[in-house]
Each structure stands twice: as structure tokens, then as C-alpha cells.
Amino acid sequence: MGDAVTPALALKDVTKSFGPIEVLHGIDFDLHPGEVHALIGENGAGKSTMMKILGGFLEPTSGQVLLDGAPAPFRSGPEAEARGVVVIHQEFNLAQDLSVSQNIWLGREMGRFFLDHKAMRHATQALLDQLECRVSPDARVHDLPVSDRQMVEIAKALSRNARVLIMDEPSAVLTSHEVQVLFRQIERLRAAGVALLYTSHRLEEVNHLADRITVLRDGAVVRRALRGELTEDCMATAMVGRDLKDIYPPRRSDFGPVVLEVADFAVPPLVEGIGFSLRRGEVLGISGLVGSGRTELAEGLVGLRPHTGTLRRNGAPVTLRSLSDAEDHGLAYLTEDRKERGLLLDKSLRENLTLSTLKRFGSPFLSREAEEAALGKAIQDFDIRAPKRDMAVGNLSGGNQQKLLLAKTMLPEPQIVIIDEPTRGIDIGTKSQIYHFIDRLAREGLSVIVISSDMPEILGLSDRILVMRQGRVAGVLEGAAITETAVVRLVMGTSESEKASENA
């Protein structure tokens, strides 16, 4: 791709400030038709901000956006969209009360005077089929799990027939199968001459997809490269600004006694017949397809969903009717749904951090100082990058929100923590920090359950892996039996996997 071609979309010396804080400093950038351009960088580096400027959702503080070489001061996202520039946002951008089909066609409904429901439903179905997504066009978005919501977002973007498609971490909440489907679509669009901008913290995806790579650090471009010029390690180094080695900590070996025993556990309607045990100092991974019931199991275990069966904590039977019961027994849960269940987006960092542990911050009167101190510590421990401490959490970058959520979950100092998708949207450097953090916790005597759709993560982190399929335990793998193929077989449910589960 030579420079002779006019870029479809470009930035010229763009800066962006929120109040007094400048988060983008003089960015020059261009995006060509028929290329996949990857934008990578640490959490808070400014990727989403840059994408929003390209897509017309934010105005640059200074500098220019160029469309086909001509200045294009978009006044709004829809205006940019009308000119073929479409964005898949990092945050969900769907109306929860509306159905899948209604969301996809919002603002561009079919039908002259009356809405043509049938045509829209058909077109929706076709888009979903193309994405191998099995949700019904009439399902309410409110009722969909996050991964399906993301597929709907993608379907919505595809329906726009974009010339320029900007994707802000589209794969963060997807499973590997869905990611494959997405890749096929991206390749199809590239072949059709669409200009694609892609960001992801999964560097293997970048390696696989990108024709060009732009690395952003602290709001400035620090590296530009063509396909094949950067290894994943180099990308990580360029992003973080230092060498990263040993992303995954070594496995642990000496475990304590069983701290949690689950038998005949069911979370209606999907999950049933679950039994497993968890030892002190152990990291138990739970793997499975989307919809296999991992989240439901976890939410049942911590009392967030009605459940049946027995739970033994340190040998004694316990009933956990609510999350506070669970907390009393030293359990904590980190939700996979950061926006809807994890954080109060319009509240400050402090208020979010301490929400589930307020009791510790003074009774009857809360101590602002103690809370601030806890926040200070959390910001340090979890490397949360917030331009201002009293900003609304919704304005944090996605990865930093995730880090705050992790800090919030760990604040009660649980003995058992269930982490549902721990590193969604987290940059590689921080990811590694989190893995080592989990390892340190385990070595200090905590027990950790990690639910993850990220295969390398689950393989690299777990001492044992429990695989779920259709609401049941498909098998448990331990020690040397943990291999990618073994896990995949259990996940998919081939006959070998049944044997493997018996051996396990």
C-alpha cells in the first residue's frame, strides 16, 4: 500500500483534550481502502478516543479529519456514518428494551410509511446467519448475554455497508469461535475494498489480521509497522515501553485442604448436576462455550441466582442466599458484565471501589479519608490510569474500568474469588500483571476460580480446568492432562472428550 493512494480516512496533527487534560498529542494517521489497520496500545493510550474522532463522535481539539483527502469536519457520528464511516464502539451501543432487529435497523428502518417488520426481520436473520449467531431477531437485547450483544453490534455495523469500518475491541467479549466468524467477515470486507481499523489487546489477532499496525502510547504514535515487521513480543514491548517476559506465572504445586465443595449443584433452568471441589491455594479454570452456563453457575455459587444442591465451606455445609451471605463466607465474584452489573458508570472511582465493602469504611459515618486511601492503594496496586480521581467511571478507558472492577472485587479480601472473564479489554502488560497478581493471591493461600473464554489464558493460569457443556460438567483436567486439544475436545463434546473426562 503505497502512499500514492489517497487514504480513505486520515488524521492530521490531531490533539484531543478533556478539560485541561490532553489525551491525544498531535496524531497523524491514515487508513487506506482494502487494508486492515490495527491500532494497539495500553489501556488509556487513547485508542477509543482516536476512533471516536475518526467516526465523528468526538471533535478534535485541534487538527483535522480528512475523508478521501478532503477535510471532513463531521459534526456527529450519524453524519460520518452517512458518508460511509461506521464505528463499532467499545461500549455497547444498543437500546436494551428494543429487539435485535429493531436495534439493527434503528434510524434506517425499512418501509416507506409503515415499518416493514418482515423485511427487517428477514434481513436481520440473514445478517445473523452470516455471523453464525443463533439469537432470534425478535429477542430483546436486555435478555442477551454480552457475547451475543457484541455479535448484534457487529451485525448492525455490517448492515451499514461501510466504506470505512472502525472496530474498537470487537473481540473482547467473544469466544474463539465467534472471533473466527468475525475474521472471515473482516477478510471479506477487505477484499471488497473497505478500509478497516481494528483494535484488540489480543496480539495474536493483530498478528493474524493486520496489514499495518500503529502503536499508540500515552496519546502519541510511537511506532508504525507493516505486516510481518513486528512479532507479538515486539508489539507488546512497543506498547508498554519495556520488555515483557513470562506473561504467565509458573504453576503452583502445594495446595491446602479443600475449602469449597460443591455437590449436585443446580442453577435452573440450564445448569445442573455440578460437582467439584476447590483447594486452598489453587487456581481452578472453568472453560466452555458461550451459553454453556459458566456465568450462571458462578452467580448461583455466590447467591445471586436461585439454586439447589449442597455447598460445603471448609467442610461445613453453608447456604448462600445472597451475595452478602457469600461475602460473609469469604467468597467474592467479579462479573463478566462490567457495564450492566459491575460499575456505576455515572459515579466516581471512589464510590465504585468501596460500594460492596462500605461497612469497612466507618460506621455509622463513612470516612472519606479511608476511602480515598483505599482508592490510592487500588490505583497503585492495579495500575489504574485515571486522568482525574473524581471523574465518572464511565469516562475511564475500558481497560481501566476493568482494573477498577478487579480492585473492587478484591477489596473485601475474599478467601475464594470467582473471576468471570478477568482480562476483558485489558492490555497485554496489565494482563501479565493481573496473572501474576492472581498467582500471588493463590500462593498467599487464596483459592481462585477463573472463568475465561480466552484459551491461552485458561491454559496458562489454571492448576485444574473444569469444562462445562450445556449446563453440565463435561470433564475436569489436571496437571499434564491440560492441553489445548484436550480442553477443546471437552468444550466441543467429541467422544474422546468423554473418555478424557473419565480419566480426569
Binding site: F57, S76, G77, P78, E81, A82, H89, N93, L94, A95, Q96, D97, L98, Q102, N103, L106, G107, R108, E109, F113, F114, L115, H117, D138
Partner: protein, 323 residues
């Protein structure tokens, strides 16, 4: 039909229970005359409630509709009385009245809508303010008393309320038309779709090129027009307007909307549900008149109990979902 979910079936069941109760209390309950009465008087609040459904669905609220109805009625009467010397009693004057009602309603709705969308004040405050303003204005116009239409003219336009076609009275026909149009607008036009989208998440709607402020404005204007239409039927019935005309209609209209299953927070509108809500509220009053069940002092209590019960069925679900 997919729209007939639990949230509409709940109030529907309550409505049917009320009808059975009424029929068992009094033989005349199901007489044509009584049914006509109940439906016709539901028409005022009913049409307003249909408009209110759109306002609430898109995340708004309008507390001013009762006072607005009084104000519109006052203006209609003033206009007709002023022009009667020139035009005489007859169709032209009636048309002037109709035109005045629609125009004043539209302008009043526009005023509310502009304050909400352009000036950016909370709908609750805007319409609380205009509620006071409209009611005050009509009291002032009436010099503290009652504005009344000339009796001859009242006789002439009486058939608008009392007359009809094929034995169905005009208010019922008009109400039915408004409901059908409302239902179509909600389910099958962009207007309704956008109202739901805005109420569900206005940022998403804005990102999808929906003209959020315009649709919001339109919901208030539409409601204002319907208040005007309701007044066209109201004036022939009572022939007058005063500071107490339309008192608490806003509460009744909002209650009908919510009973019908529309979410107060917006995002979710049910025109049919609203109709059921209006009928429930009308029937409660009718049934209390059918039999001297208790001291009239307790009517309000019975009404309260039934309103709550009517919603219990339907809400069971929501609460279970919530935990």
C-alpha cells in the same frame, strides 16, 4: 400476537374481573346505555392517555394535560362566544370551535415540548409549571367563575357528544380511531419506534441518527393535539370551562398508561394497555355507582385497592426478574 405479553394480560384480566363484578351487581350494567356511557366518558381521558403513552414511552412526562384541557376549553368557548354575533349558530361557528381547540392544544403542547427539548428543563418541572399557568389562565379568563358557551350554540353542538352513527356515539368512534392510529403509530411507524428507542437509551438513539429532540417535541405536540381533540368532545358535554375543569386528569391519564404496562421510565409503550387502563379506571367509578357498597367516603379507598390489585398480576413477573 407477540405484543400480548404478560404485561398486557395482567390488566386485561383485571378488566374482565371488573366487568364480571359489575354484571353481577346490577342487571343494567351490560345494557347498551351503560356501556355507551362508560365508553363515551372514557374517551376524554382515553385520548389524552394515548398521547401520554408516547410522551412517557420516550422518557417524558406531562402533568399539565388536565389544566391544558381546561384552558383549551376556555379558549374554545371564548372564541365561539365572540364570533357568534357575526357567524350565528351553525356549522361555521362549530368549525371555528374545532379549529380553536386543535390549534390551542397544539400550541400548548408545543410550548411544553420546546421547554423540554430546547431549554432542556426536566419534563416534570416544565409541566408542573405549565399546569399552574394553564389553570390560572382559565380561572383568570373566567374571572374566577365559569366560562360558558351560549346555550343555543351548546344545543347545536350537543350531538358531537351525544349523537353518533349506527348507534355508536361520536366520542366512542373518535376514541377508537385515536387508539387505532396510536397503536399503528407506536408499532408500525418510525415515530413510535424512535419514541421507544429514545426512552430506552437516548444516546443510542442519537448515535443512530434519530433526531431525538424532534421526536420528543413531537410527542408533546401530539399529546397537545389529542388534548385539543378531547376538548372538542368535552365542550358539548358540559358547555363550560372553569378552574376546576379537568382537575386531576393528568394523574388519571398517567395512571392509565402505567396500569396498561408502559414503563414509567420509558422505552416501552403499550397503546392497547393504556386503553385497558383507562377502561379499568372508568369502570371502577361506574361500579361504585352501581351498588351502594360502602360509605361514599370510602370510594377513594376502594379505587386505590383496585388500582393496586390490577397491577399485581402483571408485576409479579417483573419483580422476579429483578432479583
Amino acid at each position: 400476537m407477540r405484543n400480548l405479553s404478560l404485561s398486557t394480560l395482567g390488566p386485561l384480566a383485571a378488566l374482565i374481573l371488573l366487568i364480571v363484578l359489575g354484571a353481577s351487581l346490577n342487571d343494567n350494567f351490560l345494557s347498551a346505555a351503560n356501556i355507551t356511557n362508560v365508553l363515551a366518558r372514557s374517551a376524554f381521558i382515553g385520548m389524552i392517555a394515548v398521547g401520554m403513552t408516547f410522551v412517557i414511552t420516550s422518557g417524558g412526562l406531562d402533568l399539565s394535560v388536565g389544566s391544558m384541557a381546561a384552558f383549551v376549553a376556555g379558549m374554545v368557548i371564548l372564541a365561539m362566544n365572540a364570533l357568534q354575533p357575526q357567524l350565528g349558530v351553525g356549522l361555521p361557528l362549530a368549525l371555528i370551535g374545532i379549529g380553536t381547540a386543535l390549534a390551542v392544544g397544539l400550541l400548548a403542547g408545543l410550548a411544553n415540548g420546546l421547554l423540554v427539548t430546547r431549554v432542556g428543563i426536566e419534563p416534570f418541572i416544565v409541566t408542573l409549571g405549565t399546569m399552574g399557568i394553564f389553570r390560572s389562565l382559565v380561572t383568570w379568563l373566567a374571572d374566577g367563575g365559569t366560562l360558558s358557551l351560549d346555550f343555543a350554540m351548546r344545543e347545536y353542538i350537543g350531538p358531537i357528544y351525544y349523537g353518533g352513527i349506527f348507534g355508536i356515539s361520536w366520542p366512542i368512534i373518535t376514541f377508537a380511531l385515536v387508539v387505532v392510529i396510536g397503536e399503528i403509530a407506536m408499532r408500525h411507524t418510525r415515530f413510535g419506534r424512535y419514541a421507544e428507542a429514545i426512552g430506552s437509551n437516548d444516546k443510542v438513539a442519537r448515535y443512530s441518527a434519530v433526531r431525538v429532540e424532534r421526536i420528543r417535541l413531537m410527542t408533546y405536540v401530539f399529546l397537545g393535539l389529542l388534548v385539543g381533540l378531547a376538548t372538542i368532545l368535552y365542550v358539548p358535554r358540559l358547555g363550560s370551562a372553569s378552574g376546576s375543569t379537568g382537575l386531576l386528569w393528568e394523574l388519571e391519564a398517567i395512571a392509565a398508561v402505567i396500569i396498561g404496562g408502559t414503563a414509567l421510565k420509558g422505552g416501552f409503550g403499550r397503546v392497547w394497555g393504556t386503553v385497558v387502563g383507562v377502561l379499568i379506571l372508568s369502570l371502577i367509578g361506574n361500579i361504585l355507582n352501581l351498588a351502594n357498597l360502602v360509605s361514599p367516603y370510602l370510594n377513594g379507598a376502594i379505587q386505590g385497592v383496585i388500582i393496586v390489585l390490577a397491577v399485581v398480576l402483571q408485576r409479579k413477573k417483573t419483580s422476579a426478574e429483578g432479583r
